[in-house]
């Protein structure tokens, strides 16, 4: 048994057999063979190994003819490894003595070799572990032959384990058969993490290296509640998780029954609980949980989905789908929030590689420097706004000048639509994200010039505490409970109150029920969260009074460090909703 800790990005527990992506693009269907089959299985292994060796020898010959002897050497090395008597002996004895299937045995032994190389402490050599994975893949391919099961054609449920999943790979995962995933890299605010939430399967990211410790087909537990990945669990752990999996399911079912009930405190104060979405399909995750609207509609997928720049109609159609599904409930559309590094450079002309992407050309800054791109999106939003309660929101606003510029461009676009006689909504409320400390500090000035404010806690925390949460060496310094963060949020909420402008919190902080107590206590009345968190938050809201929340917030103000604040809030939450503290 081996446990790895990462960042929990999508709740739930999944138990199943592993599919290790990248080094293995197909699944090992069977881990054990029966005792009487051992001889035939060993023979099957030898046939596959011979075929693999012939293939490598052919590659060696080709490379030597076409590229020269020195380039063929690498295949020569592969061949030597594949024919290594000790290696073969180890694999065969696992088949004979432990009754492992040849696939599982090969994968196990080769991974142990790869791991040994990675552990030599020589970076150049460590990368050579990839050669061993290559060999593993080749042998597996021959062993599995026609029975090969690829990710695209799965027939049985699996847990996907990968070094990294790109957003598009994540989006393509078959939700019926991929019942959970874990990646070695990535942070809680990475695009992949956000998509995991959207798919609603348990997911853990940022575990650090572990792929060489796991073979395809091995039993793995992904605990998306606590951010744990357990490889080859012992019976005790397995039973514990089977129980908690069942408990989680009943708990979710009970929460689902809250769907039709309003998010109202015991003393009758209505809190607006809205959903954050990325894809139009997710709108149903919100409606069936009784969301009061879409508080954050991210539009990045439009830019990432295709290799071409999205047209005005692409935008318009995507927006209309969401607006229509929400039947008059508010839909807040956030304009492009990507860094220049994430966008195909063909959209923007040549772009320099930024040394520090989070502090460089991204988000609204990028839009303001690429007006045709920005205007296309704004036109589509204004046109779609005819069909419902649509609001437009600018991300990463840092200075008043930027906000004014963005508003001026919006006015230009309106004028243009007017001139061409195109139908649009000229009264679209205009808001901004407060996610840069500068914007939080000047919240009063900003509040005077917008219709609403929305606090993006992920970036606000990263910029305020100077921490990249996806970097495991400093991830522990990232905390929503830091007094500096709470003070900035308080400033923004107060600015909203003074100027009578609604304030929403739409970062991951507001999906955490313990912080919801605090946020309501400082006067926040709108939250927007990942859809699966909606029922949980309703449960909390329906069990407290505003005055109780205010007392909690008052006590929090007396605490000086994040750890004390988080512990205190966890304790208070436990009193209110014991089920939620696991």
């Amino acid at each position: 048994m081996l446990a790895r800790r990462g960042i929990a990005v999508s709740p739930g527990v999944a138990i199943g057999s592993a599919l290790v992506l990248g080094t293995e693009d197909f699944r090992i269907p069977q881990r054990f063979v029966s005792v009487d089959a051992v001889d035939t299985e060993v023979a099957r292994f030898r046939v596959a190994l011979d075929a693999a060796c012939r293939e490598i020898a052919e590659n060696e010959k080709l490379a030597s003819e076409q590229l020269g002897q020195q380039y063929a050497a690498i295949f020569g090395a592969h061949l030597q490894m594949a024919q290594n008597p000790k290696l073969i002996e180890e694999i065969e004895s696992l088949i004979r003595e432990k009754c492992l299937s040849p696939e599982f045995a090969s994968s196990r032994v080769l991974r142990r070799y790869a791991k040994a190389i990675q552990n030599l402490g020589n970076t150049y050599l460590a990368e050579r572990a990839a050669d061993i994975f290559d060999l593993e893949k080749r042998i597996l391919r021959h062993l599995l032959g026609e029975r090969r099961e690829e990710l695209a054609h799965l027939t049985e449920p699996v847990l996907v384990l990968a070094h990294n999943l790109t957003p598009s790979e994540t989006a393509r995962l078959n939700k019926q058969l991929v019942i959970g995933f874990a990646t070695e890299v990535g942070g809680s605010t990475s695009h992949t993490a956000i998509l995991a939430g959207a798919l609603e399967i348990p997911a853990v990211v940022g575990t650090g290296d572990f792929l060489s410790d796991v073979s395809g087909g091995e039993i793995v537990i992904i605990d998306g509640n606590h951010g744990e990945v357990i490889i080859d669990p012992d019976d005790k752990t397995l039973t514990k998780y089977r129980d908690s999996e069942a408990k989680f399911r009943t708990f979710t079912e009970r929460l689902d029954s809250l769907r039709q009930l309003p998010a109202e405190t015991l003393d009758g104060v209505r809190i607006q609980v809205m959903g954050n979405i990325e894809f139009p399909d997710e709108v149903e995750h919100c409606t069936h949980r009784g969301a009061d609207g879409i508080g954050l509609y991210r539009t990045e997928f439009l830019y990432l989905e295709n290799d071409r720049e999205p047209t005005e109609e692409d935008h318009y159609n995507a927006y209309c789908r969401v607006i229509q599904a929400m039947h008059g409930h508010p839909v807040v559309i956030r304009t492009l929030d990507l860094g220049a590094d994430k966008i195909p450079s063909s959209f923007l002309g040549a772009s320099e590689k930024a040394a520090n992407p989070v502090l460089s050309l991204r988000s609204l800054r990028l839009s303001l420097q690429n007006l045709p791109l920005f205007k296309t999106q704004l036109r589509a939003i204004l046109r779609a706004a005819v069909h419902g309660d649509v609001r437009v929101m600018f991300p990463l606003v840092t200075s008043l000048l930027e906000l004014r510029q963005a508003k001026m461009i919006l006015a230009d676009v309106m004028e243009d639509l007017d001139e061409h006689g195109v139908e649009f909504n000229r009264d679209v409320p205009v808001g901004m994200m407060v996610e840069v400390p500068a914007a939080a500090i000047l919240a009063h000035e900003f509040a005077a010039e917008v219709d609403f404010l929305s606090i993006g806690t992920n970036d606000l925390i990263q910029y305020t505490l100077a921490v990249d949460r996806s970097d495991p060496t400093v991830a522990n310094l990232y905390s929503s409970g830091d007094p500096s963060i709470l003070r900035l949020i308080r400033t923004v909420v107060e600015a909203g109150k003074t100027h009578n402008k609604p304030v929403t919190v739409c970062g991951q902080m507001s999906s955490d029920p313990k912080f919801v107590l605090q946020l309501i206590g400082i006067g926040l009345r709108h939250i927007s969260v990942t859809p699966h968190a909606i029922p949980e938050l309703k449960e909390v809201i329906r069990k407290i009074t505003v005055s109780h929340a205010e007392q909690i917030a008052a006590h929090v103000q007396t605490l000086e460090v994040a750890r004390d604040i988080e512990n205190y809030l966890r304790g208070e939450l436990k009193k209110v909703c014991p089920d939620l503290v696991m």
């Binding site: 050497a73 020569g76 090395a77 000790k86 030599l120 402490g121």
Partner: protein, 93 residues
């Protein structure tokens, strides 16, 4: 028994291709061939063991052979190191 010191002059040390060459050359002789680095002594005929040396640029290794072909084996290994694995290892980037 025969032995000789050799020095690793490859910029990236003994990576996969040179390790493979060492194992291949050693395997061609009727004798036991070992390479010693500090406390570590490995069987030079087994590529995985040669990799375990993790010998970086500038490391000095001791090659030892026992058996009928010992002098020939040591000469062949010394040649390999002296030519800096020419024609076996791709020109380093």
């Amino acid at each position: 028994m025969c032995e000789r010191n050799v020095k690793v002059n490859l910029e990236n040390g003994l990576h996969l291709a040179p390790c493979s060459a060492i194992a291949k050359v050693s395997s061609g002789f009727d004798c036991d061939v070992r390479i010693v680095k500090g406390d570590l002594s490995i069987n030079a005929k087994d590529i995985f063991e040669v990799i375990q040396l993790a010998a970086e640029y500038g490391t000095t290794l001791l090659c030892k052979a026992t058996g009928p072909d010992a002098p020939k084996a040591i000469q062949a290994l010394a040649d390999l190191f002296e030519s800096n694995f020419e024609g076996i290892v791709p020109p380093e980037a």
